[in-house]
């Protein structure tokens, strides 16, 4: 494995890790703060991808296209969706115990899959990359790296830094972190917990949908795509420590590397590596690497 292949595989790992982080970040916040295990979080990733596919023609019709405008449009739609879902469904889940939350959100996955199948059908679709991003960078005579994947990593990193700033520098961020450590205390301090939940949930949905949108041209859009990434994201959340954003970030990158390099060196057991990693970490630190709120 010469230097360039190693460089490319590292870039692949970082890109996959960052993508996982976006979906896992929402999951860990929602679980950490609202105490809700949301199995349906993978479906938001799928909804994001289908938004990128579905909105592209509409947006090109109205505003004359532009990849970025479609993304922004999709982001707004997913925030509204998140806001509505929290009000209509998730607010009933807070008092329920984990077992009932697991089952009700499992039912929600089935509903999302079928509504998508009714609206958009079950075929596999490609999503057009914008032209200015569809080339590839020439590393050496043979090796190239698609610029779009660099774009994905860039956008994901941008969002991660944005979240870091919001969480550590703003009042809202402080409320969120307090909520994830001790929900009752935050409530008793007079913080409008209802508003906080809605903001956290809506942004969790939006970030996961964004990840779906930005990844759609690479992963293409197919039925059931949300469920594969859901399991991996749970692994990320649990390894990182529930309710900890830093944990989710470190764990997502860790899994990005283990999975990508696993496929290269040990293709036979690549699928199993991630779970071995999780089992080992959990047995060494039964409640994840970092404390909630970090």
């Amino acid at each position: 494995m010469d230097f360039f292949t190693f460089l490319i595989q590292t870039l692949n790992s970082v890109q996959y890790g960052l993508l996982l982080f976006l979906v896992a970040a929402g999951l860990t916040l929602i679980f950490g703060i609202m105490g809700v295990i949301n199995l349906a979080h993978g479906s938001f990733y799928m909804i994001g991808a289908y938004l990128a596919y579905g909105l592209a023609p509409i947006v090109t019709g109205m505003f004359g296209g532009g990849f970025i405008t479609t993304m922004l449009f999709g982001l707004v739609v997913s925030i509204l969706l998140g806001y509505f879902l929290e009000w209509a469904f998730y607010s009933y889940l807070y008092q329920r115990d984990h077992l009932q939350q697991v089952l009700m959100t499992y039912g929600l996955i089935l509903v999302f899959e079928e509504v998508r199948s009714i609206l958009v059908g079950d075929d596999v679709h490609g999503v057009q990359m914008p032209d200015w991003l569809s080339g590839s960078i020439q590393l050496n005579d043979v090796m190239t790296y698609p610029t779009y994947r660099v774009f994905i990593s860039g956008m994901c990193l941008l969002l991660a830094v944005g979240m870091y700033i919001v969480l550590t520098r703003t009042k809202l961020g402080m409320m969120i972190r307090a909520g994830s450590v001790n929900r009752e205390m935050t409530q008793s301090l007079g913080i409008n917990i209802q508003f906080l939940y809605r903001v956290v949930f809506a942004s969790g949905v939006a970030i996961a949908a964004f990840a779906g949108m930005v990844a759609a041209p690479v992963s293409s859009v197919y039925p059931g795509m949300g469920q594969g990434i859901l399991i991996i994201c749970f692994v990320v959340v649990v390894i990182g420590g529930i309710g900890s954003i830093k944990g989710a970030f470190v764990a997502a990158l860790l899994i990005g590397f283990v999975d990508t390099f696993g496929k290269v060196f040990l293709p036979q057991i690549a699928g199993v590596l991630v779970y071995i990693l999780m089992a080992v970490i959990l047995l060494w630190k039964p409640s994840g690497l970092f404390k909630a709120g970090s």
Partner: protein
């Protein structure tokens, strides 16, 4: 108080009665169970087969062997785990006379097992799993398409003849992919070549990026691949996006470019593939078929439409020989194996194991068509190892 218990018992009895009742009368119409992928990555293949089948029935005036057709359609979603349930429902609950299906080899194997046990007539319009015409062969099971190793075998011969030395293969990790690659390896290594590495990824995963990087690093003389449907579209486009089509020729089974060229655009230009059908064969039979298909469905037919069409032909031959009575399996089988199927791909006969013996064309992608530029291998029969009818 005991309401829930009594209602549970009641629903049980009603369910049992209704299932029993549905079984009673046996309509004179021929019940055809179409178990094809109407969703997922093979959706376009399922629809093409269905169209081809219906085209032949329409040409016979809506009747086969003197019996009108009613269809019972089931979407198998290319999911092997649901195959047994779906075909059980078709055979035991809907009591179909014949089952047509399917595309995915894993699903087809499960169907063949149930059909072999229940004796129901099964015509497979695509799935090329070798064991269906091997250990699992049966009097009542026929195939109108190919066996997975045939296209691979043909391309292996072509690559060896061109003096290419080392090759890499890439495909989905399931029956069709493995057997196609095995066929290519067998003939390529017999011709003096060497398969350096076999890359694969789980079905229907389309994340080719890591594997394309490996191909770029290893720089083989040629890459052989087996993909179909939407997976084939994405693979060919990613292969071109990685700039590999300029330096390393991409060979494949015909499914890589059949029915997918308009989606692939010019990223498939000049690709060599082998298949038992091609565009521009320019035979009277083929032109008539293409004209009728284009008129009926407003799109160009592909190999899957041909296979659906031939499945209907085989059914007609058998039914005419048994005067429309599906239960006479021996006469049905004798008639179909004896007949020469007048197929748009060219006339062919069935081997002892009920698999077509046919020519494989070498095709090159020119514009939006897979032009035939010669015969890759003549009258290639499926070995049918382990089949004792």
């Amino acid at each position: 108080m005991k309401l829930i218990k009594v209602s549970l018992l009641a629903t049980n009895i009603i369910l049992a009665l209704s299932l029993g009742a549905a079984q009673a009368q046996n309509a004179p119409k021929l019940k055809v169970g179409m178990m094809l992928p109407y969703s997922g990555t093979f959706a376009s293949l399922g629809n093409a087969i269905d169209n081809g089948f219906q085209l032949y029935v329409k040409e016979q005036g809506g009747k086969i062997g003197g019996r009108e057709i009613t269809y019972v359609r089931v979407d198998d979603e290319s999911e092997p785990s649901k195959a047994t349930d779906n075909i059980n429902k078709l055979i035991k609950r809907d009591n179909v006379d014949v089952v047509i299906g399917t595309v995915h080899s894993g699903v087809a194997m499960a169907m063949a097992k149930v059909a072999k046990e229940s004796g129901t007539l099964l015509i497979i319009p695509n799935a090329g799993a070798d064991i269906i015409t091997g250990p699992m062969c049966a009097k009542n099971i026929f195939r109108s398409s190919f066996s997975n190793s045939q296209p691979g075998y043909a391309m292996g011969e072509v690559a060896a003849k061109k003096g290419l030395k080392n090759a890499m293969t890439i495909t989905w990790k399931y029956a069709a992919g493995d057997e196609s690659v095995k066929g290519f390896k067998e003939s390529f290594e017999k011709g003096g070549g060497k398969v350096t590495k076999e890359l694969n990824l789980p079905f229907p995963n389309v994340e080719f990026q890591a594997l394309l990087t490996e191909i770029a690093a290893a720089k083989p003389d040629v890459v052989y691949s087996f993909f179909a449907g939407a997976g084939a579209v994405k693979f060919v486009k990613d292969y071109a996006a990685a700039g590999l089509n300029k330096t390393i020729p991409l060979y494949g089974a015909g499914f890589l470019t059949d029915g997918t060229l308009d989606a692939q655009g010019d990223s498939a230009k000049g690709m060599l593939t082998s298949l038992h059908y091609a565009d521009g064969l320019n035979t009277k039979r083929d032109n008539a078929f293409r004209l009728a298909y284009a008129k009926e469905f407003k799109l160009q037919p592909d190999v899957y439409a041909v296979q659906g069409y031939d499945a209907a032909q085989m059914l007609a031959i058998g039914l005419n020989a048994t005067a429309g009575d599906v239960s006479k399996k021996d006469d049905f089988a004798k008639a179909v194996t004896a007949a020469t199927i007048d197929s748009p791909r060219g006339p062919f006969k069935l081997s002892k194991a009920h698999n077509p013996i046919q020519d494989f064309y070498l095709r090159e992608v020119q514009g939006k068509e897979n032009k035939s530029i010669g015969i890759a291998s003549k009258a290639l029969a499926d070995p049918g190892r382990g089949c004792n009818m």
